[in-house]
Amino acid sequence: MAKRITKEFAEVSQEPPEGFTVALPPNDSIHTWHVTLRPSDPSPYSPGIFGLVLTLPSDYPFKAPVVKFVTRIYHPNVTNDSLGNICLGLLKPDAWKPSTKLRAVLEAVRNLLIEPQPDDPLEDRIAEEFRNDRPSFDKNVKFHVEKYARAEPTFPPVVAS
């Protein structure tokens, strides 16, 4: 199904969804995408630049892709560590549909930054704060954005899969 991935990459790189830029890692592995996200204004993460790594399993599109934040982010649905795992309903194994396009996945990630889902959190503490103490949450977000997400993201070297 490399053909589909090529096609989708061409589509996304030619007409990227708003706020995204997509590139392939230097070793030309089409199964790993380097995505840069610049959230637009309504998002509290607005001025930041976030790097994401999109890994496509070998039996994509029958298995869901894996999206991870490279840049640390203060978000209820993203683990606040160097792994940056995202909890995205779309990508759960029992909810993944092979017909879902990667563009839709990227847009879902962007929407997650605009509208966090505190009901399905990976970081309970942040979700709690998001629900109960919004100003404090916004402050922490700004702090993290200033601390981690101001420069162009550096992507880790691709591990041959």
Partner: protein, 534 residues
């Protein structure tokens, strides 16, 4: 729409008389003429329903004409019942695959029987599933899959309508299959999706429950549009400039395209190679198939793999890779995609479902012998069994009785023949005869008795008379004797009284000596003899 030549849907042949393509290839022309020969007037909408025999004949004709090109017109027949779903056959697949091999139709399996899956769920729409193109089966390279003409890697001349794209591979649909929830995918994509779906079987778009036998081939309109898409010859990289309709590109690429083969680099070898030779040595040497150990020519290895009994191919029912040799036993005993009957069928369960789903049915099957209903059913069945046993026994008895009756009749008939008529009459007559004889004997006996008694009487009477006479005589004599005795006693007394001595007696003595003694003696005897008379 310029041309509609459904060469891959022979059951739905419609006469393409008026819309024949301007430059038909030999294959399609042959197929068309065969179609015209066989069926001259049929509605193009519904498709004709050839009799299976006619369709088989048609397919065989086409195979012969089109050989060695891949035979697009297979022996597919639309199933007679709309409830029957046609899942492609190994046979059809062989027919399409094998002619690729050198020498054409080396392997023709005569029986055209398809695998008909009955209605599995009630809400499905019905329709046949056309046998897929061999490349739809996604046979791995190591089993020869890379020598199948790949319909999935074609290059299209222009971007096709987005509505004709498969949602999974984002390419124009190949062997489009529509799900019961009305989404259409490539055959291969849908099979892969079902096979790798973590939650069992779900539609790749709306995650509706999905069972493969409930899917069916997409509408003819869609297939026709797809067939008319223009593609580049797969050898455009080698220089072929052909652009053809997708429907005919396979026959072009496998037979006509002059870029398809490379000449063998061997000096005295005039054979051709499918791939570019890597060095200057002739690869046409005999090697052994690593699976079945038969000798084959090295360049034909991939073709051999597609028919070798030891290599694997897809089971069309469950999409697993199964050795060709074991396909029969696989489908018979383990394939989850085959419809089987409930194991409690013998208890009366009418349900049939896929083997993979049967376990969920058997848990709740009302005919399970351990459920209350099952126990009732079992006891009822035992009753029925005993009834039928009894019925059999009665039947046996009846036959035996018939036999007995028959024999009795035979015996009576023979008796009647012997007795000259009515056997019962004969009997009574005999008895009457006997009676009469007995009567006669009886009379005779009485008569004899009477005569005997008469005779006895006659004999006895004179004897009695004589006895009486004798008795009278005896009495007379006794009277005489008595008289004489009495006289003599009187005489004696007189003598004794008159006599004085014995001189007289002595005088008389010498003459009467003996006489003297006698009276005494006589007296004694008379006394004796008189006794009974006293």
């Amino acid at each position: 729409m310029p041309a509609d030549e459904p060469t891959d849907e022979p059951a739905d042949v419609n006469p393409p008389l008026d819309n024949q393509p301007s430059s038909p290839t030999p294959t399609t022309a042959a197929a068309t003429s065969a179609v015209l020969e066989t069926s001259s007037s049929e509605s193009s909408d519904n498709g004709i329903r050839l009799s299976p025999a006619a369709a088989r004949r048609l397919a065989r004709q086409n195979l012969r004409r089109a050989s060695p090109t891949p035979d697009l017109v297979t022996s597919l027949v639309r199933p007679s019942s709309p409830d029957d779903l046609y899942i492609g056959t190994q046979v059809a697949q062989f027919r399409r695959t094998v002619p690729l091999e050198e020498g054409g139709a080396s392997l023709q399996i005569p029986q055209p029987a398809g695998l008909f899956i009955p209605n599995v769920s009630s809400e499905r729409r019905s329709g046949p599933l056309l046998p897929p193109h061999p490349s739809s089966l996604d046979i791995p390279k190591r089993y020869g899959g890379d020598c199948i003409f790949d319909m999935y890697s074609l290059t299209y001349v222009e971007d096709p309508d987005v509505n004709l794209l498969c949602p999974i591979c984002h390419d124009p649909l190949v062997d489009p299959v529509t799900t019961p929830c009305d989404h259409t995918f490539c055959y291969r994509c849908l099979r892969q999706s079902i096979y790798s779906s973590p939650s069992g079987t779900a539609c790749p778009i709306d995650r509706d429950h999905l069972v493969w036998p409930n899917c069916f081939s997409a509408a003819r309109l869609v297939r026709t549009q797809l067939n008319n898409l223009m593609v580049k010859c797969p050898y455009h990289g080698r220089g072929c400039k052909e652009e053809l309709r997708r429907e005919v590109v396979e026959s072009h690429a496998t037979t006509e395209c002059r870029f398809k083969d490379f000449t063998c680099p061997g000096a005295d070898c005039d054979k051709t190679l499918r791939s570019k030779p890597t060095d200057d040595t002739c690869p046409h040497v005999e090697i052994k198939c690593s699976y079945c150990q038969t000798g084959i020519e090295a360049p034909d290895r991939d073709f051999h793999m597609l028919s070798c009994a030891m290599t694997k191919t897809r089971c069309e029912a469950c999409w697993r890779l199964v050795r060709r040799r074991q396909m029969g036993s696989h489908q018979e005993s383990e394939c989850d995609g085959i419809v089987i009957a409930c194991p409690y069928q013998e208890f009366g369960c009418p349900s049939r479902s896929l083997r993979g789903l049967m376990s969920t049915h058997t848990v709740t099957c009302a005919f399970h012998p351990d459920t209350p209903s099952g126990i009732i059913i079992r006891s009822q069945r035992e009753l029925i069994q005993s009834y039928s046993d009894l019925g059999q026994q009665i039947q046996q008895l009846n036959t035996r009785q018939d036999e007995t009756n028959r024999r009795i009749n035979e015996v009576t008939a023979s008796v009647g023949r012997r007795g000259g008529g009515d056997p019962a009459g004969g009997d009574s007559r005999t008895i009457q005869d006997l009676d009469a004889g007995f009567e006669e004997v009886h009379q005779n006996l009485t008569h004899l008795e009477a005569r005997q008694s008469m005779w006895t009487m006659n004999q006895v009477m004179p004897i009695r008379e004589e006895v009486t006479e004798l008795r009278n005589n005896i009495n007379m004599i006794r009277m005489h004797v008595n008289w004489l005795l009495n006289r003599s006693r009187e005489e004696g007394r007189i003598r004794a009284a008159n006599n004085s001595g014995s001189s007289t007696i002595r005088r008389e003595g010498p003459g009467d000596g003996s006489h003297h003694m006698l009276p005494e003696r006589r007296r004694s005897t008379s006394q004796e003899t008189d006794l009974p008379r006293l």
